[in-house]
Symmetry: C2
Subunit: 348 residues, 2 copies
């Protein structure tokens, strides 16, 4: 058996912290003997949550952090000011090699910004990317990038495509994943300047299965496994999922309550419908990996429950065992020519 995978977990992040986080950690420890957790946050609060829980105590270490970064703080400032926050302390553990991965449901900005600054990028990676899974009618796809860095360059997008493909293949078992770039038409000549410059570079990549452009309307139907886009567009896609689904289902519910007849109909399909909607909730896919860093960072959504924390933590095992960071680094080294060529084109 390989050595333990050490995961730093932010006990203070998310709407249901620290209770849901601690429960998720306990469940993860019981689900796998391959992990060790460094649980970071208010020691008293954490220990209170741990009271009575059954788990292998040799694989859990509580690390006290006296501060908490809230969602209302400016990430860049919070990271500098709150050096003893659960987020910064966790990130330092990864930087110092004391942890392999970091899981947090706290401030997205602080997790993203802090991880870039404190954990650092894999050599050769120009920009890390946040890559949530999004639901489709055929399962799920990886949407990369939805992070905090907008206005990407073509060479950034090529790296996103590679990192996304490596993740989908080796963590999620999607063989030879189809990679597509978000565009306003499927013809090669369509697109904005960024897409037009990126498209031929992706075509040249021998190591990914690039299938061309994808229009936004085809994303929810699962036409591609890895959806590549710039972060502003990725954010719009992710939030349109939420907005359209929410608005539509609100209207469906209203319709169902509109008369006695429809109310009876609603009763007969309610439970089945609930499950369908849960399957199609983009916010419900737990942790989104932030790829391109020296160590995995998993950003769990704020409303995560214990089950989702458990999944986010367990995800770190495959990440280490499959040597994702090593594979990403190797894909960069293997392709210096393409990168430097694209840089010359876009570094105006």
């Amino acid at each position: 058996m390989s050595e333990l995978v050490r995961v730093a977990v932010d006990a203070m992040g998310g709407d249901h912290a620290p209770e849901a986080v601690v429960q998720g950690v306990v469940d993860a420890l019981n689900a796998s003997k391959e992990i060790e957790v460094l649980l970071v946050g208010d020691q008293t609060a954490i220990e209170k949550c741990l009271t009575g829980a059954q788990y292998d105590k040799t694989r859990l270490q509580v690390i006290h952090a006296s501060e908490v970064i809230t969602n209302n703080e400016t990430p860049t400032i919070a990271i500098k000011k709150k050096k003893d926050s659960s987020i910064v302390v966790s990130q330092r553990l990864v930087r110092e090699g004391k942890a392999d991965a970091f899981v947090s449901a706290g401030s997205t900005g602080a997790v993203l910004v802090g991880s870039q600054v404190l954990i650092g990028r894999i050599r050769g990676i120009e920009r890390p990317a946040l890559a949530p899974l999004i639901p489709t009618t055929k399962g799920f796809s990886l949407l990369i990038d939805c992070g905090a860095n907008v206005d990407a360059k073509p060479s950034n997008l090529v790296q996103f495509a590679r990192m996304g493909a490596i993740y989908m293949e080796h963590i999620l078992g999607r063989k030879n994943p189809r990679v597509a770039i978000v565009n306003i038409g499927i013809e090669e000549e369509k697109g904005n300047a960024l897409v037009k410059q990126t498209y031929p570079l992706l075509k040249e990549c021998g190591d990914i299965n690039f299938i061309g452009s994808i229009e936004a309307r085809d994303i929810p139907d699962g036409y591609a496994d890895v959806i590549v886009c710039e972060a502003f567009v990725g954010n719009v896609i992710l939030k349109m999922y939420e907005g359209v689904a929410g608005a539509l289902m609100g209207m469906v519910k209203e319709t169902m309550m509109s008369s006695l007849k429809t109310k009876i109909g609603a009763l007969l399909i309610k439970n089945e419908l609930k499950q369908t909607l849960k399957d199609f909730d983009a916010s419900d896919y737990g942790g989104a990996p932030m790829l391109g860093l020296k160590g995995l960072v998993v950003k769990s959504h704020g409303s995560s429950n214990a089950k989702e924390f458990k999944q986010s933590i367990l995800q770190c095992i495959a990440f280490k065992q499959q040597n994702i960071s090593g594979r990403i680094a190797a894909s960069i080294t293997a392709d210096k020519e393409l990168l430097s060529a694209s840089e010359n084109k876009t570094e105006e």
Copy 2:
């Protein structure tokens, strides 16, 4: 009573042409005495459709055009090559002042490109914009721009905001319409370079009711009346409506057919649900105006039926009577300083 509004209608555009177009024209003529229609296309086919129809013949003129531009042709080439196509002939009628407006459900590219080239922009307008209505839980909003020109400048977006506000107020009767810019967060410092440069310019506009940023998730809930964005983003928003709604409703239908119980439930709510979904179909709002041209251009969607053509044609009455083009021109003149200031900032 004011003089007649003359509308050039492309008889050959759309999936159900010419039958649905001709029927829509007849219905529009019967619905309003204020319009005159120039019906452009294959004369024999048009006259066959008109056989037996009752309408005021003094207000309909059939203008023969021997060619048709298909959706598969490259717009820029088609416009040059097919000078006797229904689209080009219609556009020429507007340019020559023989028509006030042009309605087509034909090739979107040919309508947009041809209208810019042949009809021309209002003096001072840097770029025309396609502005479809999109459904919300509270009615509808105007999304501007979803056109063919991507990579807009801040000054373009300011003009989109003004044109959109003028249209919503004077054509659709939305008093003091709320204008918002699509962003990845609601804080002023958020955004990509384009949004960060545009935001302060919109704040300075005394003539629009700028309410700040809108996140994509809030668009379907009708938080703003005019949603300003660059065309690539607008295209993604519009198509995510279609994609998410389509995928979700496919899954709901599948759920309803999954057992005898759910099938009975489905029977009881089927009709009501259909209407709700129709209300929320972004492709179902008939014609989208293309704003900023010397004359109104209405792009109807390809699957338009007679009722939608009628609506698109009748829309042109208010456009002329409310002097929308004049109002747009005036808003530009009144604000030269802001425009030139923004140009200096962005013309690198």
